[in-house]
Amino acid sequence: MTTDSLVPTPGVEKPASKPWAAQQYTASVAPKKHSFDKVLPFMGPVLLLLVWDLSVRFGLVKAILLPPPIDTVLALLSGLAGGPLLTDFGVTLWRTVQAFLIASAIGVPLGIVLGSNEKAYRSVEFLIDFFRSTPSSALIPLFMMIFGISDINKVAIAAFGAFLIVVFNSAYGVMNARKQRVMAAKVMGATRWHVFKDVLVWESLQPTFVGLRSAVSMALVIVIVAEMFIGADSGLGNRIINAQQVMRVIDMYAAILSAGVMGYALNVLFLISEKKIVHWSGR
């Protein structure tokens, strides 16, 4: 109960400059972790590679469909180290980032405004839900008619799909703001504007981050699909489909894995920045 005591005990009070860490208490009490625990996260991937390698080695899968894992990983590494794979990786990443930036620049403010005006949200709720439920890839032909077969097209359709997710999450974040925090601000004499900028916007941050994280994944999915089917000459989607058509399987698997690397890295990046920015989340 040392943390609960308001009476200062020398040594318990930590200097203000030092970040707070509850782990300091638990570390000494918690049972010592087996070093084995640290290996656990790698078990799955190692197992997968093993199964993959063995199935190729014993000819369970035709070599034309599945190259040996070593060759694939080597192709991935050398490709990302500066080969043509890196160029396509960069192009896809840039398109995804563009789509994401457009989606969030419009989606977050719009979602927050809609969320703080429930009548406004109710009147567009059906549209948002309908198009959110429509697979964005189904809209690709429509976007081809509007934007032509261009780079803008791929970014636009990805931005559209991502935008709906962002609006939805930000709006609900505001609508589900803790009522008591709003009341606390009101009782202190906060105007509607102050309640909005000092409470609602902050309350919506965590759901907004959930939205942004799903949105960037959605943007990546749509960009890859668009690159496959909207006459592209660059990007991972284009690379995968080209490699498949000429049966360069190693190249194809390397491109697929690099798309996975990108999606995973973006996800982790958002989780880390959410933890940094929405530092109070879950506490």
Binding site: M1, T3, D4, L6, V7, P8, E13, A16, W20, R178, Q180, R181, M183, A184, K186, V187, M188, G189, A190, H194, D198, V199, W202, L205, H279, W280, R283
Partner: protein
């Protein structure tokens, strides 16, 4: 056809003439009516709350103790009636409010010190003024924890202390406390109870305290307001005049015991009614 057919019929119900409370009254509640889901919770309810006193509100479950102070504080709308503070309306009155659930009352995105200073910033006070008031509060609360931390880094008792400091920062005319100790452990309850008494002795701010602990309600109170079951009326108002600071010894004083006993009798009578 300029004549209006079927003009609205007004029943001329004159507002009853306003009756001010006795000398030393702070808050006057006149013909307050509040319905909940078609049932009357308060009907033609009248009450005078004295100035510079602590009034504890106590009553059966569901009689609307919290609703009463929330209506006075403007957090719950009233159906009809009038609530005045020294003759002024709520919007001309500075109030402070302490919630039971401190976790959802403080703003976790602000450091504790900024939380406490927030009502002052809303008032548009300069940084120097805010700093001066903060120093005053820290001194009078004898704060021993680091206010630069975020609320979630503090213990429950520390967070509730910060909530009370925030409520008192703008020097409110009335402080509302809705079961401020219910979410705290015993040690913290004792500590904050004493702090509250100290602050009251320094500032004699009018306080309205909702409590579900009779001992605590009497211990802190100058007046114990006992309510009936709904539709809620005043069952009785008991004065409790023991000198402050009240201490552990107070709990065994004859006057304390008799006030507590009397409160309990009234409470039981109302619950069984």
């Amino acid at each position: 056809m300029t004549e209006v057919l079927n003009a609205a019929v007004f029943a001329e119900v004159p507002m009853p003439p306003f009756q001010p409370g006795p000398a030393g009254t702070h808050i006057t509640i006149r013909s307050l009516t509040k319905y909940f889901a078609g049932w009357p919770l308060y009907e033609d309810f009248n009450l005078d709350i004295p100035k510079n006193k602590i009034v504890s509100v106590f009553g059966p479950n569901g009689c609307g103790k919290s609703t009463l102070i929330n209506m006075i504080a403007g957090l719950v709308p009233i159906d009809s009636g009038q609530i005045l503070f020294d003759g002024k309306s709520l919007k001309d009155t500075k109030i402070g409010y302490v919630f039971q659930n401190y976790r959802e009352a403080l703003f976790p995105w602000m450091r504790t010190i900024d939380n406490i200073a927030y009502p002052l910033k809303l008032e548009g006070k300069s940084k120097a003024e805010v700093d001066r008031r903060m120093a005053e509060l820290v001194a009078s609360f004898d704060v021993k924890f680091d206010l630069k931390r975020y609320p979630y880094e503090l213990s429950g008792g520390q967070q509730q202390t910060a909530s009370i400091m925030r409520a008192l920062a703008p020097k409110p005319e009335v402080l509302f406390l809705d079961e401020p100790f219910s979410a705290l452990d015993f040690e913290m309850t004792l500590f904050i109870r004493e702090k509250l008494q100290e602050v009251f002795m320094q500032t004699s701010t009018t306080m309205l305290l909702v409590s579900h602990d009779l001992e605590e309600a009497v211990y802190l109170a100058d007046q114990v307001l006992l309510l009936t079951k709904r539709p809620t009326t005043v069952a009785e108002i008991l004065d409790y005049k023991d000198a402050r600071p009240r201490t552990v010894e107070t709990l065994s004083e004859a006057s304390f015991i008799s006030t507590k006993k009397r409160s309990l009798e009234i409470f039981q009578r109302e619950v069984r009614r």
